[in-house]
Symmetry: none
Subunit: 412 residues, 2 copies
């Protein structure tokens, strides 16, 4: 199986001013072609550093993908570094110069002298057309290995990669095919999932099963490799099926699905509706629900009742109840959900009250304590959670847990 | 000047399933300490690859920062690789084991056997405490170089880095000093700002001025380098002052300040309060306001009135008005803001109605059309915006524009 290595060039990456999203995009694309990335290097705008990056990448893999450093300014040195690495001169490509002149003329822009540098290529290399900018890419060969240099600007890079690099790499990859399935899980920790799955998560297995976690959502990646796409797909599906069997209702969805999407689809299928009443999440739950296009089919309104007075005046939570049990209590969460369902006349309503922190904690009620109620005509379920994390995390986990409670209720 | 190198570990990075935001965060932090990152490596979950990454990074720099691969599952191999690289055995640290047991006990969680691996350290290495998860970090020395391994989960990594790594690195950085100031701008495009600033943005200048953009917020980074912290700080402040002069009220804040924070501080200073009534932003504006700890001082409630009926029943927007002008209209935005201010009895209220897309557009009203009203006892201002972007962007820009309108109103 052919392998790839990535070299990202630019001081802005090493200064942390830019997040290198190109590397992630290229990695996912290359894997789906069947040429997995085995290493990725980020280096600054210095010829010596770039040459060393090319050497390392070339030692790792048959295909080297380079991004950045092809612009017209003084700190764009990929062209020069590639020539040095290949041990050849830079040569003016007069056709390329014409192309660049035309690019400016078409846009009624003045071409400044420094743009001419973009018409130079290492001797023996080929230009890759850029339909979105002035910097052409470069394709070069060395010791039977392929080097593709592309601009760092993501839309220019993506188009050039898709149009000029992918077709050649597909031919190179030949028979090999990779199929990827993602399963989204919520409500169980990473180590418990790993324990339950056991040997299926072993390294070196095919399909390979990877596990990533992002604010409580655990994603299982099933990566199957085979002679052809059909077999790879069948292998991945088979593993997906057995993961679903083992994990049961912990698996909430697949691919890029969010909890809010899955809940939305269920509500539509069942012809049901939901309203929300939020205190500590302060609008985040409504925001997650309305992130989904078409949410108006099942969501008509929500309340952010941040103060005690708002909980009483907007949702009818009795002031005495708040006084007796405190705003952060099972009783208040229930009454918020009930009040919201009554006022919105929906099938379901969610009430959330808690202490997002860092302030607001008392001896009995620590920061991270959250009560979540889901009310329906079959009664009201309440969950008491303690999220031992920072404010942002407490809020997001609370909203996600609420969505997950609703999801499980919608299963019956 | 001391240098740093980063090693990011994880198949999910090389598979493109995860964007490596840790590297960017660490790079920015290290630069501000005065230890610039000169190279960054991403490697997969394989002991041999990790060891090679550590060798390369150790050859590049005096400080090596490693993230990922410290979890409890079979594909977490950083611990083993670090021991191999250091040429020592892994040893059980019984204190560490106690800490991990306690972590689970405190949360009433069952500790599974595989979590015990997290109590092993390369002989001679030191654990870095993790206050947010089970995986401790590792500090090791080799040939006078420092190696810090931290979990890949961003909040865990960030806290560990700030608390356990930064203090030691500050001492190490000694002489050379870098001062960084960030100015946050809203309401003007990147190229217009660049045009206004002119030659001050030239490369190679000290202080160096970089510009990054994130969903409408433009950040100007002023990076000053000098012999000592005082001089660097003075140089950076001088540039900050001249940027502020040139850009005026477009600069809304500094450092990591968000629009919601700046608005919150102003409201507290003036003893004023705000309520919100949201349609297309669906809770996002309230969420941004309540992202700020202590928002309850000036924010008591908000409404998400997604349907027409909700706009009438909750905020008193006349049904006839909605029928005549449509829910997405200046008139309805005004009435939403007015209704919210009246019901919440606040000094200010914001009303937002629009078409976030992709659905819902008509010939007269395209997706991305949003009306934003800010109501106060001095009258109601309304802005008509067209955001020519995807749903997520339309919603975020709408909420930010609303906050910015309120900010400018609070200036008088």
């Amino acid at each position: 199986m052919k392998k790839a290595s990535i070299v990202s060039i630019g001081n802005e990456i090493l200064a942390g001013a830019t997040v290198d999203t190109n590397a992630a995009h290229l990695s996912a694309e290359l894997l789906s072609i069947g040429i997995p990335v085995v290493s990725s290097y980020a280096v600054g705008d210095e010829i010596g550093r770039i040459v060393r990056g090319l050497e390392l990448a070339g030692a790792d893999a048959e295909v080297v993908i380079i991004t950045g450093g092809l612009g017209p300014t003084d700190d764009d040195l990929t062209r020069q570094a590639l020539a040095k690495f290949l041990n050849v001169e830079l040569k003016l490509d007069s056709e390329l110069l014409e192309d660049i002149r035309e690019y400016f003329a078409r846009r009624n822009l003045k071409m400044v002298a420094r743009n001419e540098i973009q018409a130079f290529l290492p001797a023996g290399a080929k230009a890759l057309p850029n339909n979105r900018g002035t910097a052409p890419g470069i394709r070069a060969e060395s010791d039977g290995k392929l080097f593709f240099a592309m601009p760092g600007v993501p839309p220019e890079m993506k188009q050039m990669f898709a149009e000029s690099v992918v077709p050649e790499l597909r031919r190179l990859a030949g028979g090999q095919a990779v199929a990827i399935r993602k399963l989204r899980c919520f409500g169980m920790g990473e180590s418990t999932i790993a324990q339950k799955l056991g040997s299926i998560m072993e390294r070196g297995r095919n399909p390979l099963i990877n596990c990533t976690t992002h604010y409580g959502v655990i994603t299982l990646h099933v990566v199957a490799t085979a002679e052809n796409a059909e077999t790879a797909e069948r292998m991945a599906l088979k593993d997906e099926e057995s993961l679903r069997q083992t994990l049961g209702e912990v698996v909430y969805g697949a691919g890029e699905q969010t909890l809010a999407q899955v809940v939305g689809e269920k509500l539509i299928r069942l012809g049901k509706s939901v309203a929300v009443a939020e205190s500590c999440t302060g609008g985040l739950l409504a925001k997650l629900i309305t992130d989904v296009p078409g949410a108006s089919e099942y969501f008509t309104r929500g309340w952010v009742t941040y103060s005690n007075e708002a909980k009483s005046s907007e949702l009818g939570v009795p002031a005495g109840l708040i006084e007796r049990h405190g705003a952060v209590s099972e009783q208040v969460a229930r009454e918020m959900a009930r009040g919201a369902r009554q006022k919105a006349r929906t099938d379901f309503a969610i009430g959330i009250t808690g202490i997002a922190g860092p302030g607001g904690a008392t001896e009995q009620k620590p920061a991270g304590l959250v009560y979540i109620s889901v009310d329906s005509d079959r009664g009201c379920d309440t969950k008491r959670c303690i999220f031992n994390h920072e404010r942002r995390f407490v809020r997001l986990r609370s909203a996600q847990t609420a969505l997950n409670m609703l999801r499980l209720k919608l299963k019956d």
